[in-house]
């Protein structure tokens, strides 16, 4: 089984790095879409289905938290798991993101293994493609 991934970050370099890490992690990726902010992400999602969204928070126009709100309001898109990947790592900000629907949280700067670990947890598959039972990233909740 392979997955469609959407990476949302206003930094083209960061999108490239995340895409590279996801690719080399062995994650079965069918397609990888990219958006520069939440507005562009919603435009892409109007015509493309994705299985997981990896999104920055601090972005122009529509930020990552606002993107979570827009997804939540949309019956078709609200079940798509979203992983926040951001410099804004305060415990309150993390709680806010989880409260608004995020399923995972990665702080920048990150190690490649951190993205891989959270991605596999959130999507609910093991590294060999088997489905995991607990899809919630709870590691980051221990603050």
């Amino acid at each position: 089984m392979s997955f469609n991934v959407l990476i949302v970050d206003d930094s083209i370099s960061m999108r490239a790095v995340i895409k590279k890490i996801v690719t080399i992690s062995g994650f079965q990726m069918d397609s990888c879409l990219e958006a520069g902010n939440g507005r562009e992400a919603m435009e892409l999602l109007a015509t493309n289905w994705v299985d997981v969204i990896i999104s920055d928070i601090n972005m122009p126009e529509v930020n990552g938290l606002e993107l979570l709100d827009q997804l939540k309001k949309n019956d078709t898109l609200k079940e798509i798991p979203v992983i926040m990947i951001t410099t804004e790592g305060s415990s309150e900000r993390m709680e806010e993101a989880f409260g608004r629907g995020a399923k995972g949280f990665i702080k920048k700067p990150f190690l490649p293994e951190e993205i891989k670990k959270v991605l596999y947890q959130v999507i609910g598959v093991g590294e060999n493609g088997e489905y995991a039972e607990d899809t919630r990233n709870t590691d980051e909740l221990d603050f």
Binding site: D10, S11, I12, S13, M14, A16, V17, K20, N58, M59, P60, T86, T87, E88, G89, S90, S91, E92, R93, K107, K108, P109, F110, L111, F143
Partner: protein, 154 residues
């Protein structure tokens, strides 16, 4: 609030972590002026407000981009340098503020970038607030980071 020396230590560790993890650049603190070519800036707002600036020489900016994106020097464009410079200041400020006090929420501005040459000197003092100026060297290339917190009401 932690003291000035502790803040400098936290800032230094934040800078090292960002440059090592994301750009594979290993910095050494130095005590010298930096003739910079580029500046990226971000503002933070929260329990305290302030500004973080990075002063890059072109050499260190190109090295960062090459390392982060596995590019050859000929493939490094100004657009990608700008993007990486802005992302660097974004990550340093976020990492610094989180290490300073992870229980507090800070809002970060969208980073800005300027191709502007000048000389950074660590001796510059902020007359009406606090400032931390740090210079670094990596493989013969220099850069500097400045964090300033204006006095309340300014």
């Amino acid at each position: 609030m932690v003291n000035t020396q502790k803040i400098q230590e936290i800032l230094m560790n934040s800078i090292f972590e960002v440059f090592e993890k994301m750009f594979f650049v290993f910095l050494e603190p130095v005590d010298e002026d930096v003739k910079y070519d580029l500046i990226s800036t971000i503002n933070f707002m929260g329990p305290i407000n302030g500004e973080v600036k990075i002063f890059f020489t072109m050499g260190i900016a190109e090295t960062m981009v090459q390392n982060m994106l596995s590019l050859n020097r000929k493939d490094v464009t100004e657009k990608i340098i700008e993007d990486c410079a802005k992302e660097a200041v974004n990550m340093i400020s976020g990492n610094f503020l989180q290490k300073l006090d992870s229980s507090k929420v800070f809002d970060l501005s969208i980073p800005t970038y300027a191709k502007k040459a000048g000389v950074f000197t660590s001796q510059v003092q902020n007359q009406s607030g606090a400032i931390w100026n740090l210079s670094f060297e990596s493989e013969g290339n220099l850069m500097a980071v400045s964090v300033s917190i204006p006095a309340e009401g300014q």
